[in-house]
Symmetry: C2
Amino acid sequence: MANYKLTFCYDGSRYRGWQNQNNVSSTIQHKMESVLKDILHEEVSIQASGRTDAGVHARMQVANFHCGQDLEPARILSQLRHQLPQDIGVLQLEPVPESFHARLSCTGKTYRYYLWNSEEPCVFQRKYRTVYPGPLDLAAMRNASSLFTGKHDFSAFTSSRNKKHSSVRTIREITISQDGPEIILEYSADGFLYNMVRILTGSLIEVGSGEKTAEDLSHALESGVRADAGFTAPPQGLFLWNVEY
Amino acid sequence: MANYKLTFCYDGSRYRGWQNQNNVSSTIQHKMESVLKDILHEEVSIQASGRTDAGVHARMQVANFHCGQDLEPARILSQLRHQLPQDIGVLQLEPVPESFHARLSCTGKTYRYYLWNSEEPCVFQRKYRTVYPGPLDLAAMRNASSLFTGKHDFSAFTSSRNKKHSSVRTIREITISQDGPEIILEYSADGFLYNMVRILTGSLIEVGSGEKTAEDLSHALESGVRADAGFTAPPQGLFLWNVEY
């Protein structure tokens, strides 16, 4: 079976997330698999680098699929671009070695969370920003974010109740920058737990607004108790930004 | 009667343009007038700097309205922001002298036209870009655009059949720039005729693609015949960018 790597982006606004769910056809995976089936006349199963939640976007997502035919990537790429809806865009399609697996081969990921930190209306980016007009102490947020870099057990910073898998991840870098009315939180790690970026962001917003202190977040890291961390920031400000192999 | 100046922006995607039309409620003017009436309990008539077509956006539009009450601008601004839909954003509300008239007092305007000039999909900006993936000779387009600067009769570059008003306008500057997959055409003038920016853009695209020459456009300027100019570029790439007083 030939193995192909797909690199693509999507506006997650009208989808129930990447991953197929029982009886839900409005997932990005379902849409891509049904379009590929139309093109290839063959059922394919697409494996992405990881799921994204309902409403979360991807500037860059990577997946792979096996197929019984040798494809002409340029022709399939062009057909995919014609047949997919405008909110899903294929950037690249290339043959890869049999051993390539979009999730298991992934060595690191970057997410960005975009806040609209202004009383002014956010008209043109409204589907891609979380509006938070109140004052935020960026220095306090940066200081607290440094607690998270390095290797930690992020049990308090996930919505997953699956205790079978490790909650240890290594965050390489968190940067918090400001660009006019926007605040951008960028997280790079070897991997992320379910809802982890949204809970880290909610926790840092609570530090920025003065509701929580860095000490509170340090305590949450130690306790591993979800309730000790901050709220889950809404999905629409979140972008899967980069996937590394 | 007190006179107020409104500065605002909008995503024109789901509207039939700025200006009220008979029995059409999906205009931006209608939406703003009905929200203002709800807030002020008074019928107001809003006069904008000029109309924009169905599907055209405004980064900055200016209007004025008279009203029988003295308003607290900050309070009304906040109510407008709460009650208007997310695709219309009010930037400023301020009292102005009785003599201020958004259309008649306007001394100049700038429009921008955004082309997406790439085979790559345009996912996140898809409502604000006109996709033109073919090669475009920007040097030829810049050369042709210089024909339009200065004072000319733009009869060939308007869809208006109204011959009562002058078709003479003065274009101060046209710049054509490239930013990755995007080509941005920016036009500044004392004013523009109906559909003028879209026809100038269509004409320059035809020069860029080799379908027309600068000489053809020079001939159109002289003949004043609409059919001698280029096509009317679609609305979604067009932004009213700045209005001067």
